[in-house]
């Protein structure tokens, strides 16, 4: 039987920074609706992997196929249009802007960006604006009622957990096919992380069960609970792959994390 074509199919991906091989012939695939954990010690190439997939860094070798299209040398803009969105390890919200503004940044591809429309057709713009507000209100409301109620306030006024939620709303509003989460638990407590993950999965089940997620995470409890499968990187190389329990029992993985006795 033929396996279904994966949504994201990465083969032999290599990225070097001078003499350092940050990614060394990494193969990686994600199926539609799958949740894959990307784990590994600090500096093992996880974030670089995201950066190469999303077009921030160019790949030196290998290819990235998404949804049947080779997106290896695409710009970040084109990758976003194709349906991959991400969050950042150190939250990259626009702090001086309102929650609504930040969510709309993620909605860029569905907004009419024409100068004539925005400046001259104010009536039509107002209608588009009202519709967008309603959509933002709904998605923010699923994460926290406060966010929906206070969406005209500056993001800078909110604590880290709310900022994480806003960042995830900003990613989800684009209706992506693949969501890349870079350490969403950074700076949060266990309880907050658990709640955030529940919210993400709940929104996914309700809005689009076919949404695939790749999550970078150091919190192994999170990985164990929500991922279908894990990929482990060490020094830019894939050293293990499989369901969490298998991977966690792998000798190489334990050595990478705990060192050799």
């Amino acid at each position: 039987m033929l396996a279904p074509t994966p949504l994201l199919d990465v083969a032999g991906l290599t990225r070097r920074f001078g003499g350092l091989v940050a990614l060394n012939r990494v193969d990686f695939d994600v199926g539609t609706g799958e949740v894959v954990g990307l784990i590994g010690p600090n500096g093992s190439g996880k974030t670089t992997f995201f950066n190469v997939v999303t077009g921030i860094y160019a790949a030196d070798e290998g290819r990235v196929v998404f949804d049947g299209r080779d997106i290896t040398s695409w710009t970040p803009q084109a990758v976003y249009e194709a349906g991959i969105v991400r969050t950042f390890q150190r939250s990259r919200l626009c702090l001086p802007l309102s929650i609504f503004d930040n969510v709309m940044i993620g909605n860029h591809k569905r907004l009419n960006r024409g100068l004539w429309f925005n400046l001259m057709r104010r009536k039509a713009f107002c209608d588009a604006y009202e519709a967008a507000r309603e959509e933002a209100r709904v998605i923010l409301g699923t994460f926290h009622p406060d966010l929906a109620r206070r969406m005209d306030e500056a993001v800078a006024a909110f604590p880290m957990i709310q900022r994480r939620r806003i960042e995830i709303c900003r990613a989800l509003i684009a209706h992506p096919k693949l969501l890349l989460l870079d350490e969403p638990s950074a700076g949060m407590t266990h309880e907050e992380t658990r709640q955030l993950m529940d919210d993400i999965l709940e929104v996914r089940d309700r809005v689009d069960p076919s949404l695939a997620i790749v999550i970078i995470e150091h919190e192994m409890g999170v990985i164990e609970r929500i991922t279908d499968r894990c990929v482990v990187l060490n020094f830019g190389q894939k050293i293990a792959e499989g369901v969490y329990r298998e991977v966690a029992g792998d000798r190489q993985v334990q050595e990478a994390y705990l060192g050799v006795e």
């Binding site: 976003y80 802007l97 940044i105 860029h108 925005n118 104010r122 684009a174």
Partner: protein, 382 residues
Amino acid sequence: MEKTRPSLLPGLAAVGAGAVFAVALLTAEQQWAVGALIAGAALASLAAWRFGLARAIGASVDAHEGVLNAAVIAAVLAVTAWFYEDHFPLLMMATVLLSATTCIGLTVQFGYAGMVNFAGASFYGVGAYTAAVVVKYTAVPHLLAIPLGGLAAAALGSLLILPMLRTKGHYTAVVTIAFAILMKTFLEVNDTLGGPQGMKIRNVTVFGWKPNTALEFGGVELSHYVVYVVAALALLVLAFGLTRRMERSWVGLALDTVRIDETAAACFGHDIARWKIVAFTWGNALAGMAGALYALMVGFIAPNNFTFGDSLILVSIILLGGIGNLWGAMLAAALVVILPEKFQIIQEYRFLLYAGLVMLILLFRPQGLLPRTLRAYVPGRA
């Protein structure tokens, strides 16, 4: 929860007080009178801020934007009517309005897209020289000199776009500094454009009418500057209205995103180059149109009117007013243009004073006199 709408009164009172102050300041001749007026205004603003009056005015402005915008236009026209035959106050008013238009352009570049332009006066100059060339060497109707001035400034600015897109942050500003210096040198050695002596602009005609001659209106003789104040006001209203709409739209949001975080902007599909081109071109076009109108008004321009120092003053206006706040830019433009003219004592030291002022602002109130507020896409329908 029913909230009472803030009263219109504080806003109207502020506009009225501003108009009366403008008349008093423009009339005052004695240095002590000017000094007293400035000190009085500073104290009054401080008191208004201290006793919550400023907040009442702010709420009033937010709630009655349309009416108060109209009131400001009416106030400018009233002050113009008051000085109907005095050349000097009218010339100063027109200069303020033209500088304000230019600063609105710079706000789009600097305040929205984050591109510091140290060649604002050069683009103003491009507009001015375009108008001079149109009037002196061509048969093009003189009224078209204004849009052509904007077009020329935008076109010349697009030459800078390529090097600017290749650089980031402060290096972008360096490109504009280079342009400002090149521009002045070019004007000084170009004989067609009059070299260092500059160009005279004679016999401006609009539909057979000569706006640079005194005009009679119901038996009263008006200064020809009245026409230019009204024209400059119209240009400013147009610039302000369109830029406001730009800010309050997805375009304004995109520009802010590009300024704050280019990487995040790219990851959410924003075409960085496109938005920078839009902002840069927009700002230069406004500066160019203002410059063209300025040239038609004063009838004589020279390279020394458009120096790097003048560009620095424009940037300091933006810093003083509050980066990204259109009203702040206009208020600061009025202060920075009028004060040294009226307060002769500081004229000689004005660059020193501006430098000191900018440093004080950056130290103690980096958000400027009127800090930018959050975007209200559709005021009153939040």
